[in-house]
């Protein structure tokens, strides 16, 4: 060989170490939470835990207030996800290719609810509900959640549409299908996994949202709101640990599923949150 084999296209030791430490930095805290869920200590965050037990899990299972919070959170997440799917998909279909006056402003409007700090969205909605005289209910929470979940679905669907051959729709019409047939036979199935993945992420986002919810929930307690009150004034640390593990599990499932169904693509744009 003419050239000495070089390792320039291999990562240097420093870079590798930096990458691995970075990944550890992202994940060690989550592992710690799981570890703490089994601790026998209930007055402090002592490390390492003095002993391990499963009793906190059974205590949590018997807590009606936590079950109520979980059920409210699920209800909110499911309905807002469905609303976000419909609205986000429609917006994506309208905006991905068309160019018309004001298009960029509309795109900005869709992104705005996640681009602006949640507290501003939350207070705005709260004062609007106050002005119009809408009492706080599950629906006020849902309105807030659907607003910022829309963009997640929108991003996924737009990414899929941009990558699809622009000729697919023409090909379908060429073969005799009208607008509606094209929509149901070609567009929808093609977008299926993108919509599903977007919906999954919207669900995860809604399920653990706390900032906007604080302002739109009134006296209702979603699971994150229950958690927030424990963070501010820790009264039942072991219970909080177990609930945290529960939240991790229930959000990991849709996220992993979303990555799985879009594994052959790069739809799930993280930068969309």
């Amino acid at each position: 060989m003419l050239f000495k084999k070089n390792n320039l296209n291999k990562a240097s030791f420093g870079l590798k170490l930096g990458a691995i430490l970075g990944i550890l930095f992202l994940h060690v805290p989550l592992f710690l939470i799981i570890l703490y869920a089994f601790t026998t200590e209930d007055k402090s965050y002592q490390f390492p835990p003095p002993g391990y037990t499963l009793k906190w899990f059974s205590i949590v299972l018997s807590r009606q207030d936590i079950w109520n919070a979980v059920s409210l959170s699920l209800q909110v997440a499911i309905i807002s996800t469905m609303a976000a799917i419909v609205l986000g998909t429609l917006a994506a279909a309208a905006l991905y290719k068309a160019s018309f006056f004001g298009r960029d402003s509309i795109t900005l409007l869709i992104i705005l609810p996640i681009a602006l700090p949640g507290i501003i969205t939350g207070i705005s909605l709260r004062s609007a509900f106050g002005v119009v005289g809408i009492p706080f209910s599950t629906w006020t929470i849902i309105i807030g959640h659907a607003t910022f979940c829309m963009v997640v679905v929108y991003n996924n669907v737009v990414a899929r549409l941009r990558r699809s051959s622009p000729n697919l729709i023409q090909a379908s019409m060429d073969l005799g299908a009208n607008n509606f047939q094209t929509f149901f036979y070609v567009i929808l199935p093609n977008l299926g996994t993108a919509i599903l993945a977007g919906g999954m992420l919207a669900f995860a986002l809604s399920f653990d949202e706390v900032i906007v919810t604080t302002f739109t929930a009134g006296q209702q307690t979603t699971l994150p709101i229950w958690m927030l009150s424990e963070l501010i004034r820790p009264r039942q640390r072991p219970i909080t640990n177990v609930v945290a593990v529960f939240i991790i599990c229930i959000t990991f499932i849709p996220i992993l599923y979303a990555s799985y169904i879009t594994r052959n693509t790069t739809d799930t744009e993280g930068s969309s949150k």
Partner: protein, 305 residues
């Protein structure tokens, strides 16, 4: 029935703008009325003011609230503190995130890349609150950091750091240092993904060309890799910066009693009932972000998204 549907389809095909309108109307109405409507009404409050005696909002146009925001030293303190923290967090996230993004984009097999991708996506999408909570466990006096340092006989080092002015405090969980760590941790994935995307677009041949022309690894990194990653860093920092700017929960849970913008908004609209001042405070992150995005756009940040 079929034929009327067919005719309608014909009609839509020829009048694509009507089809567009049908698609666009529901999301536009939702965002335009519910979201934008409330947002504008709320922000408009910054032009009203609070009557000091009655404690009621006076609905008359006046710049007194905005003037109050920028004249009170306490408020200026809050603004500066928040912007400096947001900048520090952006830099911290870029420094920690870059090696991950670089390694992931240029030196991994497809399988490892998927692993990295998931390792970044999971924290990104998983619960914000739970992740903040995990740091409460970590930073606690009896928590893992103090335990590790004690085992390494380095407790004196932490004490020395905590006794520093400004960044220090009585303990890690009540200090700017702790707050910085938590913010960096929470927003880190938002920095990694855009950098990774921008590096992914740099062909390996470009690096090889640089080596071929006599540059060392280090020179190649500073002259080729880093400039090409800059749009990604700019894009990532838009997220880290804006998210830090508006957050009120982390400073509330981990941090000192000194306020940040988010907390100021929260307190003024809540217990103080001073919606005009809350609205005025809200204008700051919006304005700062607009300026920030303007400059990031010049760096090509939006092409990296």
């Amino acid at each position: 029935m079929i034929s009327s549907l067919d005719n309608f389809s014909n009609y839509l095909y020829k009048n694509k703008h009507i089809l567009l309108l049908i698609f666009l109307l529901p999301p536009l109405l939702w965002l335009g009325i519910i979201y934008l409507g409330s947002l504008v009404v709320f922000l408009f409050h910054s032009l009203f003011y609070l009557d000091g005696f009655t404690g009621k909002v006076v609905y008359q146009i006046s710049f007194s609230t905005i003037a109050e925001l920028f004249s009170s030293p306490a408020n200026i303190d809050i603004l500066i503190r928040t912007v400096v923290l947001a900048l520090a967090v952006s830099i911290g996230a870029a420094v920690i995130g870059f090696p991950i993004a670089f390694y992931m984009a240029k030196f991994t097999s497809p399988k490892i890349k998927i692993f990295f991708y998931l390792a970044i996506m999971l924290p990104l999408w998983s619960s914000y609150l739970v992740r903040v909570y995990s740091w409460k466990l970590i930073l606690a006096k009896e928590g893992i950091i103090n335990w590790v340092l004690a085992k390494l006989h380095l407790t004196w080092l932490l004490d020395a750091i905590l006794s520093l002015p400004v960044v220090g405090g009585p303990s890690l969980s009540i200090s700017y240092l702790g707050m910085f760590l938590v913010f960096t941790y929470i927003w880190l994935p938002f920095m990694i993904l855009p950098i990774q995307a921008s590096l992914e677009r740099v062909p390996n041949s470009l690096l090889n060309a640089s080596y071929d022309l006599g540059a060392t690894r280090r020179q190649t990194f500073y002259k080729v890799v880093l400039p090409l990653a800059l749009p990604g860093i700019a894009a990532g920092s838009i997220f880290t910066f804006s998210l830090t700017l508006g957050d009120y929960i982390i400073p509330y849970i981990i941090g000192t009693s000194k306020f940040f913008i988010g907390q100021a908004v929260y307190t003024h609209q809540g217990t103080a009932g001073n919606i005009p001042l809350a609205a005025a405070f809200s204008l700051v992150p919006i304005g700062v972000m607009a300026i920030y995005i303007y400059f990031a756009k010049k760096l090509g940040a939006f092409n990296a998204l």
